[in-house]
Amino acid sequence: MSIEIQSVSKSFGAFPAVSDVSLRIETGEMVAFLGPSGSGKTTLLRIIAGLEFADAGEIHFHGDNVTGKSANERKAGFVFQSYALFNHMTIFENIAFGLRVAPRSRRLSGEKIQERVTSLLETIQLPDLANRFPSQLSGGQRQRVAFARALAVEPRVLLLDEPFGALDAKVRRELRRWLAEFHEKTHLTSLFVTHDQEEAFEVADRVVIIDKGMIQQIGTPEEIKSGAGNTFVRDFLALHI
C-alpha cells in the first residue's frame, strides 16, 4: 500500500518539528528516514501512524485520506525503540492482543488466533517462548516479539521507530538482516527511522535524509553515497563514515 504525505507541518510550541514535508512512498517499498536526533524524523513517522496530528497537510494511505483518523482506525503496524510490550501478558497474549481487540464481527476464533500466533512465533524464530513473560526475554527477543505483535493484525504498512536503537551491535546486525529478508519475502510497505546510516543504506530501497524538519535529500543508497547532496548531507554522512 502506498503512503502519500502532502505538505505536512507540525510544531511543538514555537519549535517547528516538521516543516512542509511532501513525500510519496510506493507500495512494497522499504524507506528509511535518516537524520540526527531532533531532526523531526520520529515526529513525521508518528504523524503517519496517527500518534501525533499534523498542524497542516494531509496523509493518504493508498488514496484514502486518513488525516483525521486516530491511530486505532489507521492500524499501521508500529514498532517502538522501547519495544512497548505489555509486561503483564505472556508472549502469546502480547502477539494475540491485536486479534483479541478486533471488533466482534471481524474477530478470529480462538483456534485461528492460536494458529496465527504460533506461525508468527515461528517467523520470529522463538517458537518455544509462548508462555514466557517479556521480562524473561533478552532485548533482541523482545523486539522480535514486538514485530510479531505488529504483524499479527496484518497491517497495510509497517512503521519502525529506531527499532534496533536499544540493542547491541551484534544483535542489531542480525535483526537488520532478518528484517531485510522479511521484507524481501512479504514486500510489506515499510518505513523506518534511524540515525545510523549503515543501517539505512543496508536495509532500505530509498533513503530520505531529514534535518530541521525538512527533507534534505531523497534517493537510493547508491545515489546518496555518490555525494550529490547539499552541504548538510555531505557533512552528515562524512561525520559518520
Binding site: F97, V101, R132, Q136
Partner: protein, 275 residues
Amino acid sequence: MAHKKHVLPGFGISLGWSVTWVSLLVILPLAALAGKTAAGGWHHFWETVTDPEVVATYRVSFGISLIAALINGIFGFLAAWIFVRYEFPGRRLLEAATDLPFALPTAVAGIALTALYSPNEWIGKWLEPHGIKVAFAPLGVLIAMIFIGFPFVVRAVQPVIADLSADVEEAAACLGASRWQTIRRVILPPLLPAILTGVIMSYGRAVGEYGSIVFISGNIPFQTEITPLMIVQKLEQYDYTGAAALGFTMLAASLVIVLIGNRLQAWGNRFRKHA
C-alpha cells in the same frame, strides 16, 4: 558458622535493632493484649464477643468499611489518574486537599461531616425531604469511612500511574484497541496491585476508625455502633478483660485481612516475579 560477606556493612547490628524495635513496639503490646484476654477465661471471652449488640457492630466495622474501601478504590483511582494525566487550574490545591484526611484530627472530620449532614444543616436539609438520612444513620458511617480512607488509595496509585509509559498505550492504539479496551487490558492490570494496596490500607483505616464516626453515627445500638466504640464502653465500665477480648477479636480479624491482602497482591504481581 562461616562469616558471610555482605555488600552493605552493618547487617548484624541493623537486624538486631530492627528485631528489637519490632518486638518492643508491635509484638509485645499484642502479646499483652492476648495475655489480658486469656486472663478473663474462655467463657467470659465467648460471651463478650458473641453478645448480640457487639455482633451487630462487626457488621458496621467490617461490612460498611469494606463498602467504603471498594468505593475508595474506584474514585481514588480516578482522582489519581486525573492528578497525573491532566493539568487544570486548581490541580495542586485539590491534590493538597486530598491529603487533609491524613493530617486532620479525626474528631474534626466527625464534627465537620455532622455539620454538613445533620437534618437541619447544609446538605442534610436537602436530603431529608427525599427520605435520605445521612447523619445518625449507616450512610453517615459510610461517608465518614470514605472520607478518612480516600487519600490512601490516591497516594498508593498515583506514583504507579506516573510510572506508566505512554508507549504501551500507543502500541495498543496502533493494534486497533479502543480507548476503553486499552484501559481495561493494558492500563488497569499493572495498576491492580497498587489499587489493592490502597484499598486494603483504606479498609484497615476504616475498620479501626473511631473519632470521626462516633460523631456522625449517633451511636445507635444495632444500627450504627462500631466495634471500637464497644471497647471504649467496656473500658468506661472498668471491664478491662471484656475490652481486651474485643480488641483481640479485632486484632485477629485485621490479621486475616492483611493476609488476604498479601495473597491478592502476590496474585496481582505474578507477572513481575520473573524479572
